[in-house]
Amino acid sequence: MVASSKSKTLRIIVHLEADAPDRYAALQRLALQTGLALEALENPDSLTDEQRALIEEAAKRILGVDTLEIES
């Protein structure tokens, strides 16, 4: 369960860096919205479930979608 959650977070970040508008700034925008340091985003294994949820919500806002189209 935890491993699945970690890999989902990684896929969200990869998705964001590939598809976000201004994707050169995607990781920085994610950091600023969530309040998580860039180092933390670069190491998703260290994140808590609460932080992963923040990332998912921020990614939806950046992409302007209600659900993220990533493989489960």
Partner: protein, 415 residues
């Protein structure tokens, strides 16, 4: 007397003023990204409040001074002056149905809404209104028209072009949050200006700047109240809008999520880089530039052109201190619209604050060394992404007037 009669420049420092308020030209790519950074840092709701408030303060200072200087009295004439100025400056057309007790305002083709749709509309669905800038303007315009204190009215955008409405609608209502406007006029700016600096190739830069300033003096909004030129939508903004916003956003970020403070500052720099890419690039590649100066034929032409453009747009007296082609660029300026503002208002900032100077300098190296100028290039989002990925540069601001230094100075090197 017209609003234009109340324009002035400090030529030695390349700062521009309207009725005593510093004003700068910017493009929609910069404006939309800059506002987005504010919202990223503090959230949509608070970001909208901050943006509205910053605009409200900036416009209140400018409009109250302008109406006084023009000796315009009475709500109707004052609102007309305000709405015409807003459209002439490229912000779109606004109309009012409001009294001292509040009312409504309507925006047609507002700069931020049209700009956001141009930049992101084909890819993104926005979930909240974008025109905090117009909301702040509307509140200030009605207050000044009726001789009210700043903050007597609140203005909220109730529907917006970017969320699917056919126009932007605003509601004005009484507020009890009368506030002190934080901005300062040109007299205060002049009092803290450092001695002018000079740089390499200054004669050439200055000659181009003069031509550009004359050209920009004739730029005005079209029937929509928009200025479409050089491949971008251009505005003439009160500089206080940007300065209040970046300062207040960083203050919140430092207090509430200090671990992302440097990220916030780097995104402000990114805004400057985006501005340099789209606006400097668009102008340098334009037929107007070709007629005025001639198309750039080598990297130094691009650097010199970028310096002249920055001066003409009111960013500050950017000068070339050193340049090693494709390796290093060092610029100095006797203040920028960001650093002088902070020197006046804050006295001493905690960190170097000329984000546009930083990002603009990086963009100049990108444009000089990574863009093919023949045939004429298109300054698209795809090209910006390619340049960001293929040709990374870093910029360090070593000196800042806002921190008490005698000038601003930035150094761009390869990453």
């Amino acid at each position: 007397m017209t609003p234009s009669d109340n324009r002035s420049r400090i030529d030695s420092h390349d700062l521009s003023f309207l009725a005593g308020s510093a004003v700068v030209f910017h493009c929609h790519h910069f404006n939309v990204f800059f506002d987005q950074t504010i919202d990223d840092a503090v959230g949509a709701e608070r970001g909208t409040e901050l943006r509205t408030r910053a605009s409200h303060e900036a416009w209140y200072l400018l409009l109250s001074s302008l109406c006084e200087r023009m000796a315009v009295d009475g709500p109707g004439p004052r609102l007309e002056v305000a709405a015409n100025l807003f459209a002439a400056a490229g912000h779109g057309r606004m109309s009012f149905d409001a009294s001292a007790a509040g009312g409504a305002a309507t925006g047609e083709t507002l700069h931020y809404a049209v700009g956001w749709r141009d930049k992101y509309g084909s890819r993104l669905r926005r979930q909240y209104p974008i025109d905090g800038f117009a909301a702040g303007f509307a509140a200030a315009a009605v207050e000044v028209a009726h001789g009210l204190d700043a903050g007597s009215l609140a203005c909220v955008e109730s529907s917006c072009l970017v969320t699917g409405a056919d126009r932007c609608a605003f509601t004005l209502s009484p507020a009890s949050a009368v506030f002190v406007v934080e901005g300062r006029t040109d007299e205060a700016w002049r009092a803290v200006l450092p001695a002018p600096v000079t740089g390499l190739h200054d004669d050439r830069v200055e000659a181009i700047t003069k031509g550009l300033v004359d050209f920009l003096g004739n730029v005005a909004g079209d029937d929509r109240g928009l200025v479409q030129a050089f491949g971008v939508l251009v505005t003439n903004h009160p500089a206080d809008y940007y300065n209040h916003l970046s300062n207040r956003m960083l203050e919140v970020t430092q207090k509430e999520k200090p671990q992302t403070l440097e990220v916030a500052r780097s995104l402000l720099q990114e805004s400057g880089q985006i501005c340099g890419f789209h606006t400097f690039g668009g102008i340098l590649a334009s037929p107007e530039w070709e007629a005025l100066v001639g198309a750039p034929s080598d990297p130094l032409d691009v650097i010199i052109g970028g310096l002249a453009i920055s001066r003409a747009l009111g960013f500050g007296h950017w000068c070339l201190e050193a340049y090693e082609p494709d390796q290093r660029l060092v610029l100095v300026s006797s203040g920028t619209y960001e650093s002088v503002h902070n020197k006046v208002v804050i006295e001493e900032t905690r960190w170097p604050c000329s984000y546009l100077f930083q990002g603009g300098a990086v963009a100049m190296m990108q444009l000089a060394h990574r863009v093919e100028w023949q045939p004429r290039p298109a300054f698209s989002g795809a090209l910006y992404l390619k340049l960001r990925r293929d040709a990374p540069w870093v910029c360090k601001q070593t000196h800042c007037v806002g921190r008490g230094d005698v000038h601003d100075r930035v150094v761009v090197t390869r990453a």
